[in-house]
Amino acid sequence: MSAELLERGVRGAFYTLEEAAHAVDVLEENGFAQSDITVFSPIPTAEVEEHFVRPRSPVRYMTLTGGILGCITGFALTYWTFFAWPHHVGGKPVSSFPVAVVIMFELTVLLGGLFSLAAVFIFSRIPALTMKPGYHPRFSEDLFGVFVHTSEEEGKRSASRVLDGLGALEVRDEPA
């Protein structure tokens, strides 16, 4: 573990997500705040989320906003153009709601999707120019990492003790 990294916290690695999640629980019991603990996972972490009491992801609101905005845009665009220069086609009325529905739907999905993407970017802090401390390439391979942010010596000791007690591995670069 590099000296630089040690300055910012303590890292432990586990074979399974369960172990990592268990470590989070134990660390919390030992007085570490959830906000100071980061879990690195090579797989989606649906289970881990249960161990954190964090606000529900705000992505949903972004998606909703995008969707509503798209819907309104679709309606406004079609109706504006109906009347901007009314042309009679096929003996049909100049304004036609069923037609607007198609455009409204498409724009709802389009803006909803784009807003969701933006939400991932914003809330997951990507694109990120710098890596978060505590990361190791094996966390994208086979190991689950638990990193405790703490700059105090005591905190570091305590965290190391807890992680060691749970059988955390020293992370080495193993050949894949």
Binding site: I43, T45, F105, L117, F123, G167
Partner: protein
């Protein structure tokens, strides 16, 4: 579970995870001669297609075989074909994701890339088919000095919106799914170029719990949005026809019929692509008979729907009492384009009946063959719907027979080359399987391998 067995199990999992990484990333190794040869062929064919298109723009659309009243022909056939191909991707990745169908994990990345590239291919055809492609921007709603807007009543404008939305959303969906896997590739990249490339593309993904949390949410919503979208896009495409008064087109059955047909053709294309890919990259442990069987069942289901739709078309034509409908369908089955119609009926309805047999469903060879037939059959389905219906419309004076020219064939071949070019590039530069999700939900063979490691 004792600590010891747990640790043993953990080690086994890590070993399997490493193997997943190794196996999938192996596909990204420096391309071999086979790949280069395929690329060379693909680029040549694409080049011929581009030459044909430039020639067509220069000389006029007449170099294609259009024969009034057949004003839409092979280009629109290709368009609908490729849009159809594009459909199973989102179906497999989004709808099956929402339904938590586990077999999707192994094939969804391939089908998603297929989706995006197929939409890119499909999107070319409305342009290729325009008489004055240099004025295509008249279809885009933007404020202009002519004070004119597009006509939102036209299904073609709906198409423009649907296809561009679909392209955007499926690209987003593909990309979002790729981010964690690109991070894997980044962490294992050996060359400077690749490390750079993947660093940029992975956007600094680290797989922290926070990232995963938002990611999972967004992925779910994207899946949720993509699901109605995938149904709507081919419905809109079908409305290009159903909104017209052409007998043989003007039918309420078209939207569901087209969606089913699209999924049908898309699944077939997935099989067509997956079978050689699995062999070429030695991914037998990731994609096995289990997946094949599931895909085959999906194929069988959609084939039955399509079969049903074909029959219903004839029934409605008869029951409607409309002379025009009856004439078109009589002509379809027994008229000048009967050859095409019977190719379509055989490939889409008769041949897939073999899928009732489990031995066929789990045979790589037969599934590949059947998938090719289905692709062919679905291309001819569009050919028949578009060309045969137009050739036998209301006005008997104007009945005619269309045959394509070399330009149309070259451009069609070029579209396959264009699609394959992107696909070949993709499989060599980006992980063609979802590494993170494969680790989460191990495919059966890996599960068995893991158990063996645990036992040892």
């Amino acid at each position: 579970m004792s600590d010891r067995t747990m640790e043993k199990s953990g080690r086994a999992q890590a070993q399997i995870f490493r193997r997943v990484n190794r196996d999938i990333l192996a596909t990204l190794q420096r391309p071999g001669v086979g790949w280069a040869a395929m690329m060379a062929v693909v680029l040549t064919v694409l080049g011929i297609g581009v030459i044909a298109e430039v020639y067509q723009i220069k000389v006029g659309l007449g170099v294609a075989g259009y024969e009034p009243p057949v004003m839409w022909a092979v280009y629109i056939t290709d368009f609908v074909f490729w849009v159809g191909i594009a459909h199973s991707g989102t179906l497999i990745s989004a709808i099956l994701f929402l339904f938590r169908a586990q077999f999707r994990t192994a094939v969804y990345r391939i089908s998603e890339t297929m989706t995006v590239f197929a939409v890119m291919t499909a999107g070319l055809f409305p342009l290729i088919h325009l008489g004055r492609v240099w004025y295509f921007y008249y279809l885009v709603p933007y404020p202009n000095e002519r004070l004119l807007w597009p006509n939102f009543r036209s299904p073609l404008v709906w198409d423009f919106f649907a296809i561009s939305t679909y392209f955007t959303i499926s690209s987003v969906f593909l990309y979002v799914g790729l981010i964690p896997d690109i991070a894997v590739a980044r962490d294992r990249a050996r060359t400077r170029f690749r490390r750079r490339l993947y660093s940029v593309l992975s956007l600094g993904w680290q797989g922290t719990d926070t990232q995963w949390r938002h990611y999972n949410r967004a992925y779910l919503f994207l899946a949720g949005l993509a699901t109605p979208l995938v149904l709507s896009v081919h419905s809109v495409v079908s409305w290009d026809f159903a909104m017209a008064i052409v007998p043989g087109w003007h039918s309420t059955i078209f939207a569901p019929y087209f969606v089913a047909g699209a999924i049908f053709s898309g699944v077939a294309m997935v099989i067509t692509l997956v079978v050689p890919l699995r062999r070429a990259f030695g991914l037998q442990d990731y994609i096995d008979e289990y997946h094949l069987d599931r895909l085959a069942k999906l194929l069988l289901l959609t084939s039955s729907i399509v079969f049903y739709a074909y029959l219903v078309e004839f029934w409605t034509a008869w029951y409607s009492g409309s002379d025009y409908e009856r004439a078109v369908f009589w002509d379809r089955a027994f008229g000048q384009y009967a050859w095409a119609a019977w190719i379509m009926y055989s490939c889409n309805c008769i041949i897939p009946l073999a899928l009732w047999f489990r031995r066929v469903r789990t045979s790589w060879f037969w599934m590949f063959i059947i998938s090719i037939f289905v692709n062919l059959g679905m291309w001819f389905e569009r050919f028949v719907i578009i060309i045969q219906s137009l050739a036998h419309e209301f006005e008997p004076f104007q009945w005619d027979y269309y045959t394509p020219t070399w330009v149309e064939m070259a451009i069609t071949a070029g579209s396959f080359a264009w699609f394959l070019m992107w696909f070949l590039l993709f499989i060599k530069f980006l992980p063609s399987m979802a590494i993170a999700e494969l680790k989460e939900l191990l495919p059966p063979k890996l599960k068995r391998a893991k158990e063996e490691v645990e036992k040892a």
